[in-house]
Structures are given as structure tokens and as C-alpha cells.
């Protein structure tokens, strides 16, 4: 992970001709907002993760943290609002309307934009999900403000009180810190699992302010005809797995991936892969761990035949324990893994499988 952003000079060279001063009017924008994404009765956990990050930002700025919830009249928006406060929000803004049942770009963009224009937050955070990205781009353009996508870190620059958003650049080889100095609100999206889940505080409560959308169905051009749930209910739950065994191109052949599956089975783990092996068809795309795949935060991550390039690293370096197996003692992965084995994965994996089986097998209690 990067170090905290150093204070950026207010008018640096290279920004010639560009407005970097915040107008008095925009200085009045206060507060941190998190868009609470929900669908068919469930809040997406990324919203809670963002409340955790938002709480830290709000505390640094000395301002309030708000959840923003848009939905249909028969959806449990009040429950969601309560949950948001349990996860750290001070207060929630609500919009309830039949046209907000089920996500559509038009009504949600109007709803969020109206709320922003009315209550003027300085920071708005959304999850970088299909909904979040669809909405964020439209809202940012309507508000004519800056939006930074897929951030891996959010900080406050003490000199300017601006949001310093860090994200990968140049295909993930480097990181950059981006700020929106002269426009408000400062918007950012963050991918699921990048931020840690905050702790629940059941005692925490907050108020709710409700506003009206002011759109009727005939105003809205796009109709949601149906929602077709994915047939495969057994979806891969990589993002929330506690133990993951991953394989990379160092495994040489698709057949060798079997060894990854064997170890995963013994550990009750999920199986992951790097982008190259997904592209080669050795595992499904849902199992891709990395900058353009999933971010994971398991307790144990075992990487076999993976070099540790930055694009993969950003997807898994938050794991509590990282074990790497690679034939190259100089592979970048050993620079941030906790344990490293220099050896051939094709031999090490079965040996590890055996060792884990022997040690854990004795302890597993079988239900009578």
C-alpha cells in the first residue's frame, strides 16, 4: 500500500491556466456522503465498507457523515438507514418513490443530483459496482465536477482540506494521487473489498431527512421490463472468502491447476487465479484476483506460480497471511508475502496439501 499523500502545493507548476482555487460558494459545501447501494432487499456490503472509509474522512475534516438511500416505497429504506448509522453514519438522506424501485440511470441521477444541489456535500463516495459506476459518471457530469474511479486509498490533504484519492495508473504499474481542487462535490468510487468492513456499533443511531424525487413514470423514458437473476446460484464467493489458494502462469499447464483445487479442498478454501491464467482459460473469469478482477481480504492467501506483479498485488496484499511459492527467489511476490517457498509449485502444492490434511484432519470434528 502507498504512504499517505503528502500535502500538494496549491498552485503547482504544470497546472498553468487551470483553476485550482475553490470559490467561496463551493467552500460552503460540507459533509461526507456515501451512496448506499441496495438491490432486491439487500444492501451491497461495499456501502458499509465505504462508511468505514467515510467515517475516517469525516472525522479528519470535523464534519458529518451521511448515507444516501434511494428506493421504492415498499423497500426497507428505514432499516437500511438504521444499519448505515450502526456502521458509522451520523444521519441519512432518503428518497422514496415508486420510480426508484429497481435501478435506472435517469431517476437515480436526478435524485442524487437534486440532493447534492440542495444539501451541498463536499465529498460523495460510491461503490465501483455496475450501478455505482453508471450513476457516478452521470452525476459527476451533471454537476460538472471531478470523479476519481477505483480508488485504493482515500485521505484528506491537510493543507487544502481536499480529498486525496489514490488509484492505480498505467495499467496498474504505478499509483497516482488525484485531487479535485476547484470543484465540489469531490466524487470517488471504490471497488468492493478494497476498504475494510467497519465495526458495528449497535448503540449508534442517527436522524433521517426525506425528500421527494419529483419525477413520474411517464417522465422516464427507460423502462425496466424485467430482472433475470443469474441461473448459477452457486456463484463464486471469492471476495469474501477467508482462505484462498491461487494459481498463476508459473503452473505451466492448465492441468496443473488441479493441484490448486486439491489444496483448496483440504483447506475449505476458494480458488483464485491471475489475469493471465483467466485469459488462458484455466479458470473462470469470476476467479480473477487483481486490479481488474476481484479484490480479496482473506485470512490466508496461498499464491502458487504467481510472480507478484502489481496488477495482482493490489488485489490481494491486504490478506492477513500471504504464502508464496515460486521457482524464482527474486520474484516480486516475496517482497510483500509473509512466507515464501522457493521451489516448483507442482511439487510443493501436493506436499502442502498432504501436510495440511495430516495436521487439520486430526482436528476436524465430524457431526455425529
Amino acid at each position: 500500500m502507498s504512504e499517505a499523500a503528502k500535502p500538494a502545493p496549491a498552485k503547482a507548476a504544470g497546472r498553468a491556466g487551470r483553476n485550482t482555487e475553490l470559490s467561496e460558494e463551493l467552500k460552503a459545501y460540507k459533509g461526507v456522503w456515501v451512496f448506499i447501494e441496495h438491490d432486491r432487499g439487500q444492501v451491497h456490503t461495499v456501502s458499509w465498507e465505504l462508511l468505514g472509509a467515510g467515517r475516517a474522512l469525516a472525522d479528519k475534516l470535523g464534519v458529518t457523515l451521511h448515507g444516501v438511500i434511494l428506493g421504492g416505497p415498499d423497500e426497507h429504506l428505514d432499516t437500511f438507514a438504521k444499519e448505515a448509522c450502526v456502521y458509522g453514519a451520523d444521519h441519512c438522506y432518503l428518497m422514496r418513490d415508486v420510480v426508484l424501485k429497481g435501478y435506472r440511470n435517469e431517476p437515480f441521477t436526478k435524485g442524487l443530483t437534486d440532493l447534492v444541489n440542495k444539501y451541498q456535500p463536499e465529498i460523495v463516495l460510491l461503490g465501483a459496482t455496475t450501478m455505482g459506476r453508471d450513476l457516478a459518471g452521470s452525476v459527476a457530469t451533471t454537476l460538472n465536477t471531478g470523479l476519481t474511479a477505483d480508488c485504493t486509498e482515500l485521505n484528506i490533504d491537510p493543507a487544502t482540506r481536499a480529498l486525496a484519492a489514490t488509484r492505480p495508473t498505467f495499467g496498474g504499474s504505478l499509483l497516482c494521487t488525484i485531487m479535485t481542487l476547484a470543484y465540489r462535490p469531490q466524487m470517488a468510487t471504490v471497488r468492493p473489498r478494497v476498504m475494510a468492513m467497519p465495526r458495528r456499533d449497535e448503540a449508534r443511531t442517527g436522524g433521517v431527512t426525506e425528500d421527494t424525487l419529483g419525477l413520474i413514470e411517464t417522465d422516464i423514458v427507460t423502462k425496466l421490463l424485467a430482472f433475470i437473476p443469474d441461473a448459477n446460484r452457486n456463484t463464486v464467493n471469492l471476495a469474501y472468502a477467508d482462505v484462498i489458494v491461487s494459481g498463476g502462469k508459473g503452473l505451466k499447464h492448465a492441468d496443473n491447476f488441479k493441484l490448486v483445487w486439491d489444496l483448496a479442498r483440504v483447506l475449505g478454501a476458494e480458488v483464485g487465479g491471475t489475469r493471465p491464467v483467466v485469459q488462458a482459460g484455466w479458470v473462470e473469469a469470476e476467479r480473477q484476483v487483481g486490479q481488474t478482477g476481484k479484490t480479496v481480504r482473506p485470512k490466508l492467501y496461498i499464491a502458487a506460480g504467481i510472480s507478484g506483479a502489481i496488477q495482482h498485488r493490489v488485489g490481494m496484499e491486504a490478506a492477513d497471511v500471504i504464502v508464496a511459492i515460486n521457482t524464482d527467489a527474486n520474484a516480486p511476490i516475496f517482497e510483500f508475502a509473509h512466507f515464501g517457498i522457493v521451489g516448483n509449485a507442482m511439487q510443493v502444492l501436493p506436499a502442502l496439501t498432504e501436510a495440511f490434511r495430516a495436521r487439520l484432519g486430526k482436528q476436524i470434528r465430524k457431526i455425529a
Binding site: 502507498s2 498505467f170 504499474s173 485470512k299 490466508l300 517482497e335 510443493v348 470434528r365
Partner: protein, 282 residues
């Protein structure tokens, strides 16, 4: 039918390396390619053209060498190509880019009414997925993102139906034309250009528009000036303070290495062993 497809020429990021000492990008000899996500958008547009007849106009905002990317799209069968290129665009973030592209699309629309604009889901160098939504907003057109399939287009009735990928399923949306679609990757397979198309592309006079040609009047909305986001610094990932605890199979026997490893892991993280056993017992 008239479809505009927006593309970007990007460095092949798979080949970019970082200088070990100065942390700068080593772009030497890294080839520039058509943003791979854009090709899915192009193929979908070409399929609609095959079905309904009409034209596909390629649009790109970029430096002069981006002409090669447009040319490649012509070789796949696109009808026309316009490169909007101007020094004034340098340093544009997604807001400034969408402004410029929207202006250009309005100009193209004056030549011949545009029914659909296609873009790729995101770029491999920016990864933001913001330009498509930005263009739609500025044109005030319907935005349909993460489209995986287009089951129905009714040109006379000016309506379109799409399947849109959401969490856990697919939305079936119905809306009017014109619309802007960002296409999901993996939804189609790019066709092979025939020899005739390759020759046509090699000769094709790609149109070049300056900012004036593109109908851009407000220079404060393009390039660096029109970009609210500011890159304050670029850096490489910092090294973790501690290198991995290393074991080598070359020096020690494999079984000893694995037993040693498990001992170390579980001694340092006793809860971990319990949790794994707990889950396996369930």
C-alpha cells in the same frame, strides 16, 4: 441506421514496465493499440449495420498517431473515421474528454442523424468507465451501461431493448433512440478483416477535426483547463518493510519445508487454525 463508435488508442499496458530507479514509465517500443474493450463495442455496431444497413462512423479524440487505431477499425468494416486532434485537448480528464466527444458527436449528427453511440466499458489505461456516461449526459441521451446483448431494435418506432449486467443478474431495459451504449467485454467475437477491407483501410483518408471543426467553442471545458481532477503525484508502490520468511526446497527436503511452514503459520496465527477447522467441521 447511423452508429457512432468512440474508441481510444492506448499503450498496451501489459507491456509497460516501471524503471527500477526513477519510477517512471518505460514506454519505449510499447505498441499502441485500440483499447481492447472498444472492439466489443465496434463489433456490436458492425453487427447492427449488417442487420439494418447504414453507416458506422468511428470517432476518436487523440494525438495524430491515433489515426492508426482508427484505420484498424476501418479494416474491420467501419464506414468512416474522424480523429479529433488538437493541442488544446492535452491533459484532459474524463469530464473534459466527454465534453469534446459530445461536441464532435453533435457535429456528426448534423451531417447525418445518429441513432446510437457505442463505447467500450472502460479503457485499460484509465479504467474509470466514466467517459461513456459523461457523453450521454451531455447529449441528454439515454445511458445504457454494461450491455451484454441487444435483443431488439425498432428503427421506425425509435425504440431499443437491451440486456444490462447488474449484480446477481441481468436487467431487461427498454428505451428510445437515440441512446448511448457501453458494451460489456466478452459479449461477441471480433470478425476477421478480409483482404479488401485491409487494403481499403490502408488507403483510407481518416478525417481530422481540430477543436473548431468539432464545434467546440468553450476552451475552458477541454484539455487541462476543463479537467477538475488534478494528478498531484505519481509513484511506485512502496516496499513492505519486511521481506518474506524464505524457505528453499533446494536446501531442505520438501516434507520438512512444508511441516516447518505450517508450524510457523499456525504458531504466529493460532486463531487461523481454529477458524479453518471450524469451517471444515461445519
Amino acid at each position: 441506421m447511423h452508429i457512432v463508435v468512440c474508441i481510444k488508442q492506448v499503450p498496451d499496458s501489459a507491456q509497460i514496465r516501471v524503471h527500477p530507479v526513477t519510477n517512471t514509465i518505460m514506454r519505449q517500443g510499447v505498441p499502441a493499440i485500440v483499447n481492447p474493450y472498444d472492439l466489443f463495442a465496434l463489433e456490436e455496431a458492425l453487427r447492427l449495420k449488417d442487420q439494418f444497413g447504414g453507416r458506422v462512423t468511428m470517432l476518436c479524440m487523440g494525438p495524430p498517431q491515433a489515426e492508426d487505431a482508427l484505420r484498424k477499425c476501418i479494416s474491420f468494416g467501419a464506414t468512416d473515421a474522424i480523429l479529433v486532434t488538437d493541442r488544446a485537448f492535452a491533459g484532459a480528464d474524463t469530464l473534459a474528454t466527454s465534453y469534446a466527444l459530445a461536441a464532435a458527436i453533435r457535429k456528426i449528427n448534423e451531417e447525418q442523424a445518429v441513432d446510437l453511440v457505442f463505447t467500450g466499458k472502460q479503457t485499460i489505461d484509465g479504467d474509470t468507465a466514466q467517459v461513456g456516461p459523461g457523453i450521454a449526459k451531455r447529449l441528454n441521451w439515454n445511458l445504457l451501461t454494461y450491455v451484454s446483448r441487444i435483443p431488439k431494435v425498432d428503427l421506425d418506432g425509435r425504440r431499443i431493448q437491451v440486456e444490462r449486467r447488474a449484480e446477481g443478474g441481468v436487467q431487461l431495459l427498454d428505451t428510445t433512440l437515440p441512446s448511448l451504449i457501453t458494451m460489456l467485454e466478452g459479449t461477441n467475437e471480433m470478425r476477421f478483416a478480409g483482404m479488401d477491407d485491409m487494403l481499403r483501410a490502408a488507403r483510407f483518408p481518416v478525417r481530422r477535426w481540430s477543436k473548431d471543426d468539432a464545434g467546440i467553442s468553450d476552451v475552458n471545458k477541454i484539455g487541462l483547463k476543463g479537467s477538475p481532477t488534478v494528478v498531484s503525484k505519481v509513484f511506485g508502490p512502496t516496499a513492505r518493510s519486511q521481506h518474506a520468511d524464505m524457505m528453499s526446497v533446494a536446501d531442505t527436503n520438501l516434507q520438512d519445508v512444508t511441516l516447518n511452514l505450517l508450524d510457523k503459520i499456525f504458531t504466529q496465527h493460532p486463531m487461523l487454525e481454529e477458524e479453518i477447522v471450524e469451517r471444515l467441521s461445519a
